[in-house]
Subunit: 346 residues, 3 copies
Amino acid sequence: MKFVKNAWYCAGWSSSITRSPIDRKFMGEPIVLYRSESGAPVALSNRCPHRFAPMHKGCVKGDAIECPYHGLQFDTSGACVHNPHGDGHVPQAARLKAYPLFERDGIVWIWMGEPAQADPSLVLDSKYTAFVTDAQTFATGVGDLKVKANYLMVMDNLLDLTHAPFVHPTTVGGRPEDSVGGGLQVKFEEDESSVTSNYFVPGMPPTPQLAPMYPLPTGDFRITMRWEPSSNLAMSLTMTPPGQPDGSGVVLPLLHLLTPIDETHTHYFFAISRNVAIDNEQAHAGMMEFARKAFEEEDEPMIAACQEQMGTTDLFSLKPVLLQTDVATVKARRKVESLVKNEAAQ
Amino acid sequence: MKFVKNAWYCAGWSSSITRSPIDRKFMGEPIVLYRSESGAPVALSNRCPHRFAPMHKGCVKGDAIECPYHGLQFDTSGACVHNPHGDGHVPQAARLKAYPLFERDGIVWIWMGEPAQADPSLVLDSKYTAFVTDAQTFATGVGDLKVKANYLMVMDNLLDLTHAPFVHPTTVGGRPEDSVGGGLQVKFEEDESSVTSNYFVPGMPPTPQLAPMYPLPTGDFRITMRWEPSSNLAMSLTMTPPGQPDGSGVVLPLLHLLTPIDETHTHYFFAISRNVAIDNEQAHAGMMEFARKAFEEEDEPMIAACQEQMGTTDLFSLKPVLLQTDVATVKARRKVESLVKNEAAQ
Amino acid sequence: MKFVKNAWYCAGWSSSITRSPIDRKFMGEPIVLYRSESGAPVALSNRCPHRFAPMHKGCVKGDAIECPYHGLQFDTSGACVHNPHGDGHVPQAARLKAYPLFERDGIVWIWMGEPAQADPSLVLDSKYTAFVTDAQTFATGVGDLKVKANYLMVMDNLLDLTHAPFVHPTTVGGRPEDSVGGGLQVKFEEDESSVTSNYFVPGMPPTPQLAPMYPLPTGDFRITMRWEPSSNLAMSLTMTPPGQPDGSGVVLPLLHLLTPIDETHTHYFFAISRNVAIDNEQAHAGMMEFARKAFEEEDEPMIAACQEQMGTTDLFSLKPVLLQTDVATVKARRKVESLVKNEAAQ
């Protein structure tokens, strides 16, 4: 498995990590997540070094977690601090790998590579994530799902939204013949640390989902999908009164944070938000159901079906026929390849 | 996987192939089947060359089929004829493999090898298949099932019907001690292009299934099972007043068309028919239930269990203890081996 | 797969082997078990040499078993004694492998190695097993389950009972802080043919399970767990009035007989017994439910989870951190390694 290890990945939404330990698998490594008594998130190997039992089935006692099989206890640094048997001797090798974490804006980030290189300044900039906890301006919901595909397949899906009218006819909506074509302007941007797909449709009637939030008959429809390696995507969907500056109308910020479970499975964390009707519970339930349906029932089965038909995770080895709309995905994949290569060379 | 590619296989009963695309897997290749506006059957690779999405989840539009992921459209030759994105440019490599088909007597045949060699004169002769659509003389039902075994294991089962009293006690019926033994005459025939097992029991009481169709206390019972490579079997079961010419009494023609899904799975298409009580709906329902039960509940589990116990699809490598009753199956397997070898040499 | 072949393993409790054939898989070999007309247990390969059908789906006729596919019959020595087809000729190679069995004390033992070396004097001594059928002194129940782990993982679990307060809080009971620690005396013993773990807690209050059987407020609590290669464990749990000789109070003898199904699955046969309230049906139901719950719902998931996390069956290759409590399991594993090595050298 070749992943970019020296990078921050989403380990979970802050709300999902509590005093009750949960298990995750990232890049094939079993991990247990919990919070210490002070509330700090903790990430340790989920495999006891004694008999390889899954730690998340054990109890958290104070700051330590107890192995469910024979009761060894490990502190937040991964050191074994208690052996309940015999004279209580703790062998020096008895420790769990500890993973650096960083928590901000309702997101717990995990560093899968060299702990010494875990620089918090490399975390996805707060300007892309602050909305998650900005309850004054936004109504935000978060969720997650597992995708039966390599994480780059999910990234491909997100960096090329021209799939929407075909894959999301009942959620994003729109008949292909209406929504894809002349009116749509697509632009790809790239800098050293990101790739962005921009979509712009001037003077479009609001989609079914936008109609309740946007009172005018037409508006300027924009989507920005910005990807940063290895796999964090910040998206913004706006509907603006014709000719007005972007952001002055309806603004829906989203996050798509993709963490590889293994070569063919991805933990997909999403946040979806809106700057209108922020106290309307029905609107909120509708937004979350929209996201769940679009990501779980429409995107996931399609991405998983492609992965299954490919029989490999090396897309380029299959010589795909590339279209103009693939530019962003190809640029992003090339960046990932280069990062993996650099890490291997170190 | 070693299959005879240059041969006609059943892709499906005509009635199962419609304007709504369906997916099949033959010899490991994913295939989508549908009909064009003119009603002609179409078989294309079920894997879009762009992102490898399964085409059968898309829509048929006119004669073309549209990819469910990004909307590329392909015509019946497999050529991409529409790209809904950007300037609509279609890369030259954008095409689906098209498979030659031939439709006759309610059967759609597919050619898995070199298209240029797809000679319709090689299709199983109509004298063996015409009954399927001959509603004047016969009442016919068709069906299909998946067998968890290599297709040659199903062929073995059919070319040696001495399993009947053991595997089919409640359908074909008969206690082993009655039905197998002195009265049964078995004869194997072989020519360049077929192997046939013949079974003859003179002056036998009708089996439970035959009794309602055959009024006399005894009759001459005959089964002919004729195999043609690579895996199409035409069967005839007759019950004739003693001493009368074969065919002058009850005639039940059957087809067993075996199409390899992969090394260890087979798509088994069957037709079963009768020349008596052809308008009797109850008799028809009984005949179909008999076939379903015999093939699905009795043969399939036995064949699948053998395959599972073998742990390989190379029967001869296991040095099976062969009996006189295996003559036909061994002859047929040798023919298949020789055909595979010839194709490899080409 | 590396197993100790020249050893006796439990094939089943006597009560589970009847005239109706059942299938087992031991060390990857499919086996059919039934009883002859005289009541003697029979173990044959479960794979017909003709077409590899599973024999246990066939009928037992007299002392012979009939193949469910084409009706070949084999006697208790594995020789084919009847071919119902054609002239009835039986090829010389038509035979099933026969496995030596030995039955005593309600247990049917099977020898997986060289038949000539199947010496009944090597069967686990009757002093450890006689209680199973000694209805005068003991009330005994037997059971079995499948464990998704290598058999040595189950042995490890049994030879180190310090897992009890962590894995069995609701059955064996006891808070870890009470039951593990100062009061517990652990002693390991080893001789040429066995490894034993001894646990002793003087003057302990009875556990919830023992309380109804033991009327005094405290007692001397002892467990002896004796392992003999390759994988048979005899256990004795006693609760004795303080200072009295062991065995003069409550005695619960148990057996844990582990038979490898394959590298990662184990057939776990257990017997549990008591020398008190032997006619009390409610006590019996409670004891059996205790065993079922402790072994099936608590031990099995933990052992299977460890095996799954290990991803190999070679424990030592993972460099486990060993504790003082692992002494017995390591000794036993070394004995098994040495036996496997000796067999390979022969």
